[in-house]
Subunit: 329 residues, 4 copies
């Protein structure tokens, strides 16, 4: 992993957590990304919704970017918005170096950061490819109390708004739940695909809702809310597609076949049966020879060995070999 | 987070992922730690069991350290073992700088790395405080095929072995399940507290068993095995203790009380009731005054406001105020 | 369990699944209940949302009642509504015989049955104590297509509406998601505590969303939706309270203490230590004697044995005994 | 559901919970089954491990049978064993009437009932098709304390032993964990596919480990153990196969396609586009006509409508229609 900070927009620091390619993780050489926008009422950006969130998505296979956008009494909303737009643009422009797919960048924001992420997803020209909003502010009515003029998110929703995941708690006393409801209503009206989890219990500002992010307050570690993270990952994997896999998963039948003469039995075990060994030597002399030479050649089945070397044996040849071996059972 | 590499033992690189303290995460200023030992048959250390595993534990609140211990045909087991011991010693010696608790360091190893972690937990003088072993080699019979003389882990188990979490799959063809069983039998005999999950399906080397770590092979993303990670985190939190929290979680009664006159109603709402406002002004003039002055003073209840300022109001005074308010219902 | 059918309202059959008390399940002698209202567009009541749902809640500790309310072209909504009211009334009136708590009866309905359950929770005089609504119809606009005059649920929501759990899927083509949104908006406006899960994928009519209820259609077994059931159980347990438990759960410290001389060590083991045995004989001669006489007396600790016989030993006496035993370590 | 009691063996009552076929649950007309054997040290059969367990498997789609086998000081093990064998035989002999598959009958036992279930799976001539053993007694050493001569389960394991799921807790003071370990060792030696979860915390006799089955003792509701039930269901579904489903699950692409002219757009919506309506009328006049006539004909796509009526339109015709419609986008 590379960890560094890039300045974007109005000198806003963007902390970049970049998992780098490995030959052993070839299908994950290019990753989806999350741009994390912590909350804090536009007067701060909370550490509780910054690195812990980035790490959660990193662990799920994403590369992550945390933006400390402009905040404070002197800073108008537009400045924060500029920073967020600049961060998204910079991430996409540097996709190759950041080992990410520029068409799979989600904005993930909480509270005021949820407002900023939602603004990016609705009112910006260049939008993220998905939105994850945690207990977001979405209504312009929140502006005056914090001394800002805020975008009214619901009225900017359109068919161009990306797929959205929203979670919040029903009795949030800081950002009333009508902020969530109005946003969902607008998404529904414009037929934007969305997912939403509004939990019964829990105060505003839960972040991951674990002891690690609760900063000592039991109410901030409400267990019933914790699934939001895994649900949001599954949501993003559904929208973006997960890392590709090929071949077949094991089934119970795999275990059954492994215990019977055939191309699914581990080779070492197959060669221990004299008649089967003869058949293998005849059909696949190189595989047969490998078992003696290499301690681990014997643990894979013929089917597996062949799958690792495309072209080594045709499907027909494999079937014929299997037929001959199963006849010995 | 700080990310850097420290050399330990025989020039073995130890990659250090260190979450740093924040005033907003004060109860997590000192973290438990994992020393990750990737597998690879003592001839390599696999990327699939290195950083992805570190990130998974980081996301769960740990600091993480990945050791690339000595491997290869020329490298005897003792050299790898030295590296692992040196890594553990270095981590503990630098606990303060690494923001970790030196009494809460778990060794987490996979396959051959699981053997190394298990050796550290049984045969080393200074042992880790807990062990997480994924599909580990534990029997010395595995030595000759890889050209090494390996410690037989089960015969080194004693009452001094730390609490152990082990997972594997029942039909592993590379490291036979007897490696797990013999280890568990020894743990049971010596009354070492342990937890073990042996899954039905899945080949050797699953790592996190997700698409992200499967490197394109469907069988390496066996969904039924994925819970091991969260289970191991819960195991370590049980043994080490989780980050502390105080106060009370919300309950359904919290929501009910918030809707009724009393010290649990948000202050802004309480002040909107004329009779209640009079009572509050009399008992807690400063809180009453704050509501007008600060847009967010009104969202917390008197009970919450008091809990944030220990000493602001005695339990008796709070009860008296509550009685007077509830009498107005 | 008793399984029988009771006729209520306009000859509507109410199938009753009643778990009966057992001395071994004393704290569950009185259970919460669910009144299940299957969907089917008010022209049928679907088996897919009947018994499988009842069994799911039974397994979670509830008693369950499935109502086949009046349906069909000739049957006006009021007739269905009468049946539902009558079922709820009958259940509460017979609470003692049904081994349920008449203040903990939830209505659980799906689709049109969700409309009926929601009507019961908003427009009936006697309301259920909680509502679980699956992909419910809530808008009167649904009436004309099915040839009925339906209650508009959102406009009947009030502060008297019980806590509500709602789940649906965002792109339901049969009952548009605005039915859910409008209901949630009304709940929020009237400050009714609620929980809501709107999933991204899945068609109308998912029931439990398992293969068992999918009737062969893969889209009806959408895995991401399955958590609704456990979430609804947790919601109801939060609102109603779960079955009570006393005493302490095990912790890691329990295991540690069990291995050391003291009142937490199993008695049989304690008595095997000669000095400890002397102490026990002196302080608790009856417990000491029991170990020889009964094969299983030795497996519990003194603390456990005492907890089973309130009054057998004072807290002070237990502490004194523990002090004497731990001094021998 | 039918609920009745059948006498088997030495007058042992077998309570039968039989979900009956429904046209709406056609793929579940024949179900897998569980034979539940409650524990109780062979001196009782505990209610805590009887009906609650049956209900849990019923909810998961199984039919369930609870056997109150012979117990008590006067009753030799062989009598209990006879009862269990008779129950299994009776269930299979009456498979058609019980709506179960006689090749998918699992024995599920706890503690002493786990011993009985394990005996059935190892030492009986007719074995169950899978075994689920909860904190089982498996060693003959348990016999003398309960005054019986018990089968030593591990020594009866053979290749004929069915796939086995075992769970227990590592520090069980009543049935030491060596009972589990010895059984697993034998399964591994004989290459019986198995799954095993041994949890760190929790006393003997946890049943479902919920408040509902805890009978008021907090330690009997250890949350970390609860996943055993769902894991055992997944294990049995893996071994037996789950209920079949056909067709395709929804994907994010389904949602995208539903919003664009083509055969995946809901028909009502398609017909609202004049040009598309012309195309549909030309290719599929009957579907076009249905939209006006039936309020719900418009909610399904052409692809769905066709899938419900095999033969209504060839794949080629569907593709041609789709091409013509997508050309209009």
């Amino acid at each position: 992993m590379k960890l560094f900070t890039q300045t974007v927009g109005h000198d806003a620091p963007l902390t970049c957590y970049v998992q780098e390619p490995s030959a052993e993780l070839a299908t994950a050489a290019t990753r989806p990304a999350v741009l994390v926008l912590p909350g804090g009422g536009y007067f701060m950006t909370s550490d509780r919704e910054a690195e812990p969130v980035a790490l959660a998505y990193l662990a799920a296979g994403f590369n992550a970017f945390v933006l400390r956008y402009a905040v404070g009494a002197e800073s108008p909303f537009e400045k924060s918005f500029d920073d967020a737009k600049a961060a998204l643009a910079w991430i996409r422009a540097n996709a190759a170096d950041l080992h990410i797919d520029p068409t799979k960048v989600a904005a993930v924001g909480f509270s005021a950061g949820g407002h900023l992420a939602s603004s990016l997803a609705t009112a910006a020209e260049d939008k993220p490819d998905a939105l994850v909003a945690g207990y977001p502010v979405t209504l312009e009515e929140f502006g005056p109390p914090v001394g800002k003029e805020l975008i009214d998110v619901p009225s900017h929703v359109s068919a161009a708004t990306p797929p959205t995941f929203l979670f919040s708690t029903s009795d949030d006393t800081v950002v009333p739940i009508r902020n969530s409801i109005a946003f969902l209503a607008a998404l529904a009206e414009h037929e934007v695909p969305f997912e939403s989890h509004i939990y019964l219990l829990g105060p505003h500002g839960l972040s991951l809702s674990t002891n690690a992010t609760a900063n000592g307050r039991a109410e901030m570690a409400e267990a019933s809310v914790r699934p939001w993270l895994a649900d949001s990952v599954r949501f993003l994997q559904t929208v973006f597609g997960d890392f590709s896999v090929d071949g077949e998963a094991e089934t119970y039948q795999t275990l059954v076949n492994r215990r019977r003469l055939g191309v699914d039995m581990p080779l070492g075990r197959l060669m221990a049966d004299e008649r089967a060994a003869d058949v293998v030597r005849r059909h696949a002399p190189e595989l047969a020879a490998a078992v003696g030479a290499d301690a681990f050649a014997g643990v894979v089945s013929i089917r597996q060995a062949v799958s690792y070397q495309p072209g080594a044996m045709s499907d027909e040849a494999l079937a014929a070999l299997d037929a001959e071996l199963t006849a010995l059972r």
